[in-house]
Amino acid sequence: MSVVTTTREAGSGLAPSALIVRSWKAPIAFAIFSVLGAVLFIALARGGDTTYRLSNDTDAIVLPSIVLPADATGIATVVLMAVIAVYAFVLVRGGSKVPLWLTTLFALLFLVGFLTWAAAGSTVPLVGLLAGALTVSTPLIFGSLGGVISERVGVVNIAIEGQLLAGAFVAALVATFTGSAIVGLLAAMLAGALVSAVLAVFAIKYLVDQVIVGVVLNVLVVGLTSFLYSTVMTGDPDLFNKPERFERIAIPLLSDIPVLGPILFNQTIIVYIMFALVPTVWFALFKTRWGLRLRSVGEHPKAADTVGINVRGTRFWNVLLAGLIVGGGGAFFTLAAIGSFTKEMTNGAGFIALAAVIFGQWNPIRATLAALLFGFATNLQSTLSIVGSPVPSEFMLMLPYLVTIFAVAGLVGFSRPPAASGKPYIKS
């Protein structure tokens, strides 16, 4: 508690400028991970070589595979990590902050060390691993963007899971009816907005607690989609559940870039929309009048009301917008990734997206990075289980949730939600 309070005061400029707040979290975390690395990569060394395959034989430019000796790489990464930990310690002692690039470098080193150790003696298809991670992450990113908008305007969105599931269901149904994936995508967005509308009406008009509405909406959507799936879709799958899928569109030239090309530029249209959406949402939130109003409503609705902003209206329309975005992400399940609807197919993705919102500190870019990280962890688990890793897959799957608990508990980074998030505004 005390740590969080001091950081907040320092951040808002309330603390006297002479006071230097030293946050020891980063060096301590670095030290813990260095020790963990030493135990895993050196003490429990597994021997053998790890091969990273960088390209497929069919690619335009074929890169040779990289072969790393597992034990030596482990020692090297641990030494480098220890150096960074000591450097961070010195930095904090000198009164400065640990820069983001150092944290990123540390995380990358740990990742390389971990991957080399876990996959020792076998081959890691790097392109497949990263492309798979992007596939897993896409609905998470849509979900977290919707979550960021909704929470920034002051409405807690626990119903991301329900919005994704509704989007997935409606996309499958409508795309099958119309034979057009685009129409399916649009319908999915409307479905997500419909769930959002219920959330908004109950939360803003009837002042029902937003968490309760969110939880109940998730159950409602699971119930409705499962009911309709069992009664309608399974009756005649060809008629109801065989949607037209989005084809992959390879962007000329860009898709030929080694490693990155096949991952980023040979994707379905939903992914390209996502590429455009992330910076757009960031720009709109922080650089436009709309974003300023949205954030002011979420931080201090009374002040916003005083200067003439319609608080309830702003909340209502932006929660709907969030639903549109999340619903579109739901379509990715049925129109791009899998190709048909199954019961409860989102399988907790909405909650991981919620975790990404919190871990990303209610910032679209950071939330996207968090979603990518969580998607990578999930996909790494499936890749490693094929390779035969010593880490039980359940622990990899647990990672996003564990990290989020650490984040909300203030042990890693620090999280401060928009001040009025979750609080209905009652005009007096």
Partner: protein, 441 residues
């Protein structure tokens, strides 16, 4: 939305009245009006649970109507007859009536009394015992959620608490042989401790770091799920020896809940335990000093803190007890329900249903008890509905969530049934002083 500005909703006028009340109090006591207000979550809990029983009944009726609409929309005979609706409309109306009447009579047969087998009483009353058996874990978990609600905490972590409790009790019950009776008691207590610790962790994080319990419980649900899944596929942990499935071995006879009415019914000791738990929660909340502190923190943590109650300690205490209560549901699932061995799906979404049970029961112990029986009946009846009418059991989820939505929004139910704003309720909510202040103005 626009007419809101002209006609303030009841909640708004309540809020205005409350604001006035605060000003009056501030004026009279000479305190600054900017003292910290009661946290919103505490107010909401009070408002939701302050509603009348009529609203609950109407909400259930409305939800069943919506369920009926859904059944009609997906019924095949209705769809066929709708093709020639304009030439012979009665066909479709009859088909609609048949679909709904068939569904809800099957629900009744499956949950209360099987009148088709009225000749054999032992068979005919079996559905009622099924209802009580299905209600058992719902009541236990509902009590856990309700108790946390009374302190102003949202315990969404029923699933995790159930899983951990079940894993702990299941390990003792399946792999550690002990003499009869003692075995059952030890397994039960170990399970309750497991649930209590998993719940208490939430309280501890909330008390120490201020982490929001909703986020923490949601995340802990998944952590518990993967943890138990891992244990269930690890030989030497929970996995049955010599098996490849992620499933535990069968619970030893000595640790199983004994049946109450003979082996032909599923009703067992768990139901008695749940009655005891309900009485305990009633006693705790209404007669004990600890319960007084719980309610004080639930009403207004700031005031409670001023009165010398250690709010942080209360958060930990209530989550320990709530976790143990939800844990009882998990223990029931392994020692009373899935006695042949359990898998990671043992919670059967009871942890989430418990939230709806607690809301319907308005977080009062006996309210939760009867709400649990109602949802137990829906659950028991849904299987008959699926078997005889081909209606998927998921309809129960839909009906349940509609019930909660309607209960959570009394103004909506009132506007649908065109009920007047209930004055007694409104007055109950508005402090006397505030009303006086309004009159004076």
């Amino acid at each position: 939305m626009s007419d809101d500005t002209k006609n303030p909703t009841p909640a708004e006028s309540t809020a205005t009245a409350k604001a006035v009340h605060e000003q009056v109090v501030a004026h009279e006591t000479g305190r600054d009006a900017s003292e910290p207000p009661v946290p919103r979550s505490n107010q909401i809990v009070k408002e939701i649970f302050g509603g009348s029983a009529a609203i609950s009944v109407l909400a259930v009726v409305l939800a069943l109507v919506f369920g009926g609409i859904l059944i009609v929309l997906t019924d095949e005979t209705v769809a066929q007859t709708s093709a020639y609706f304009f030439s012979r409309p009665t066909d479709m109306l009859v088909a609609m009536w048949d679909a709904v009447a068939g569904a809800y009579s099957a629900l009744f047969r499956g949950s209360v009394f099987n009148y088709l087998r009225a000749d054999d009483l032992a068979v005919a009353i079996r559905p009622l015992t099924e209802t009580l058996a299905n209600a058992t874990p719902l009541i236990a978990a509902g009590l856990g959620v309700a108790l946390a609600f009374r302190v102003g905490l949202f315990n969404i972590g029923g699933r995790g608490q159930m899983l951990i409790a079940a894993a702990a009790a299941g390990y003792v019950g399946a792999y550690i042989p002990m003499p009869p009776v003692i075995h059952l008691i030890v397994a039960l207590i170990i399970g309750l401790i497991g649930g209590a610790l998993w719940g208490g962790l939430v309280g501890l994080l909330k008390a120490r770091t201020g982490a929001h319990e909703v986020i923490v419980t949601i995340m802990l649900n998944y952590i518990a799920f993967y943890l138990v899944s891992f244990l269930l596929r690890t030989p030497g942990a929970l996995q049955a020896p010599g098996q490849n499935n992620p499933k535990s071995g069968p619970i030893l006879d000595t640790a199983q809940f004994p049946p109450l009415l003979g082996d032909q019914y599923n009703l067992n000791l768990g139901f008695i335990l749940v009655i005891v738990a309900t009485i305990y929660v009633w006693y705790l909340l209404n007669r004990s000093a600890l319960g007084f502190r719980f309610r004080a923190v639930g009403e207004n943590p700031n005031a409670a803190r001023v009165a010398g109650i250690k709010v942080e300690r209360v958060y930990v205490q209530v989550m320990l007890i709530a976790g143990a209560l939800v844990g009882l549901a998990g223990v029931y699932q392994v020692l009373g329900n899935f006695t042949g061995g359990f898998a990671s799906g043992l919670d059967a979404s009871i942890g989430f249903d418990a939230i709806t049970v607690a809301l319907l029961g308005r977080s009062k112990p006996w309210g939760v008890f009867f709400a649990g029986i109602l949802f137990g009946a829906l659950k028991a009846g849904s299987y008959t509905m699926q078997a005889s009418e081909g209606i998927p059991v998921d309809i129960v989820l839909v009906v349940q969530s509609f019930i909660v939505l309607f209960i959570a929004a009394p103004p909506l139910v009132r506007s649908i049934f065109r009920l007047p704003t209930p004055d007694p309720l409104f007055q109950w909510r508005t402090p006397k002083l505030a009303r006086k202040a309004e009159v004076n103005q």
